[in-house]
Amino acid sequence: MARDTAPRAKNGYRHQYAIFAFMVALFLVLPYVIYPVFLMQALCFALFACAFNLLIGYTGLVSFGHAMFLGAAGYISAHAAKVWGLPPELAILAGTAASAALGLVVGLLAIRRQGIYFAMITLALAQMIFFFSLQAKFTGGEDGIQSVPRGVMFGILNLQDMMTMYFVVLAIFLAGFLLICRVIHSPFGQVLKAIRENEPRAISLGYNVHQYKLIAFVLSAALSGLAGGTKAIVFQLASLTDVHWTMSGEVVLMTLLGGMGTLFGPVVGAFIVIAMQNYLAQLGSWVTIAQGVVFVICVLAFRRGIVGELGRFLKKPL
């Protein structure tokens, strides 16, 4: 009688499978229509935004320094691939692990504070990582780590080929996305949801909420790292851009624009923001202005974001 006694919940999720299937189909077709490198970039950022959303949307913690996880993993993966000569899968894994470790340290420092305090602490710690990346030898300072070899994944997939690279990125993105879905709908996710709904009550039930938030934070950091490591392999470079605080702002923008706490929102948000950056590149500082304006409009008028508003309109969680 377990699952079928929950008709509401079941109905609540079925359409998500359909949307997911549509998304996968779209991503399988798109590279034949749209320039794949753009898609790969967008997918990396979509994963980054989803990881960020896992934190903000499902634990209510707003990190304003998430770039440090993207960037740190980028550096480690690039270094691993280039200097240690690791194959791409191990290089990405190394970056992911590094970000998870960084997430643990940062989380231990920051997790006891909430709201804006948490945001400012993560921002400041990210700034520390930025300066470290600028000065440390192995990161190459302003130049970054250049000409990172893409290599051959699992000894068979030659990533020099653009389409192979694309499908590997897609696979990584989907794996990350599915993991996030799983986390949200796992026993652990259930506790997170309970904490977000009523933290004092969760404490009174014996939950040490800091531990749960910390795990969510580390997971989010690790997945951001996965995105960062993949991005370094795709673009064959790791640079300061990814650890700069403006990147932390961008991921907030993507998530906010797409819809915090929605499954598909961050993906939509990331694609829009990346498209805006790419296609408005000629307009110089207007890109920044446009981003700022989108930010302001979202906060003032569309706090649910595009997908969130759509979900409310359709009365279904998206």
Partner: protein, 295 residues
């Protein structure tokens, strides 16, 4: 004469003084942030952009209106303060009932817009703004050459900080402000127009940033980017001092300026990170900051 790690006491004095000057900017900016945070519960991310605007107003006033440095010290805070009040009235006001994080996001967006507009208009390489003739030159203090203008910055900002502190801690207006920080609803129920007070407070905090901008203009280039890097350091200063504490932000501002100055002598590589390291340590030992109150 003793020597400390190879630095002569003279040089050390010089460095301390220099640190105090930077501290003056930290103090003024974090003071404005503290005042705004206290009453509005908003972390004003566009504080740096408004600081930059202050410098630009001074620059433009000189270029187009022939207004020199001294009138700009009044004009720029007034203009930027008015702009701030407009932002509060039209945008921030709608966010008070929401999670504080939205205030941070909105002001972050505003910072992007303001900086983008100025960058578009004036480029990024910075514009010159001269030291006012009455303050050019300097004093040889024996252990260092102290430019008159720097001495003025210390005096002026100390004066402004103390004046702000006095107004908030010792006057009726300040009592309203402190009371409204604790319990705005009740203060309004006493017949005080709290929304207007919030607008004015935001204006005041922003005007402090603009004033710091004018003071900074002759030292640094007037550049659209001048605020964005400073602001994160100032955030760290605010976290270390304890958010919302007036005296805390002044004292921490000056102190961290000095600490940073000394780091530039002993281990310059760390001078950009030292404040963040201090922040991490303070958070571990006293999560509410050095002067913060537990809630």
């Amino acid at each position: 004469m003793f020597e400390l790690l190879g630095i002569s006491p003279q040089a050390l004095f010089g460095q301390l003084l220099i640190g105090l000057i930077n501290g003056a900017f930290y103090a003024m900016l974090s003071l404005g942030l503290a005042v705004i945070f206290g009453l509005l519960n908003i972390i004003n991310f566009c504080h740096g952009a408004l600081y930059m605007m202050g410098a630009f107003v001074a620059y433009l006033a000189l270029q187009h209106l022939g207004l020199g440095y001294w009138p700009s010290l009044i004009v720029a805070p007034v203009v930027v303060g008015a702009f701030g009040m407009m932002l509060e009235r039209t945008m921030l006001r709608h966010l008070y009932k929401l999670d504080h994080i939205y205030g941070l996001l909105l002001t972050f967006g505003l910072a992007l817009v303001i900086e983008g507009v100025f960058r578009n208009e004036f480029g990024a390489s910075g514009l010159p703004y001269g030291i006012p003739p009455t303050l050019s030159g300097g004093q040889n203090l024996g252990f260092m050459f102290l430019p008159n203008y720097r001495a003025w910055v210390i005096v002026a900002s100390l004066g402004v900080c103390l004046a702000t502190w006095y107004v908030i801690e010792r006057t009726k207006l300040g009592a309203y402000l402190r009371a409204a920080t604790e319990n705005p609803t009740l203060v309004q129920a006493f017949g005080i127009n709290v929304p207007r007070m919030i607008t004015l407070t935001y204006g005041l905090g922003v005007a402090l940033a603009a004033l710091a901008g004018v003071l900074a203009a002759p030292i640094y280039q007037v550049s659209p980017l001048m605020g964005s890097n400073l602001i994160i350091v100032v955030f760290a200063v605010v976290v270390i001092g304890g958010m919302g504490s007036i005296l805390g932000s002044i004292v921490t501002g000056f102190t961290l300026g000095v600490v940073e100055g000394l780091t530039k002598v002993f281990y310059p590589e760390a001078s950009s990170t030292v404040i963040f390291i201090i922040m991490a340590i303070v958070l571990l030992i006293r999560p509410t900051g050095l002067f913060g109150r537990a809630h």
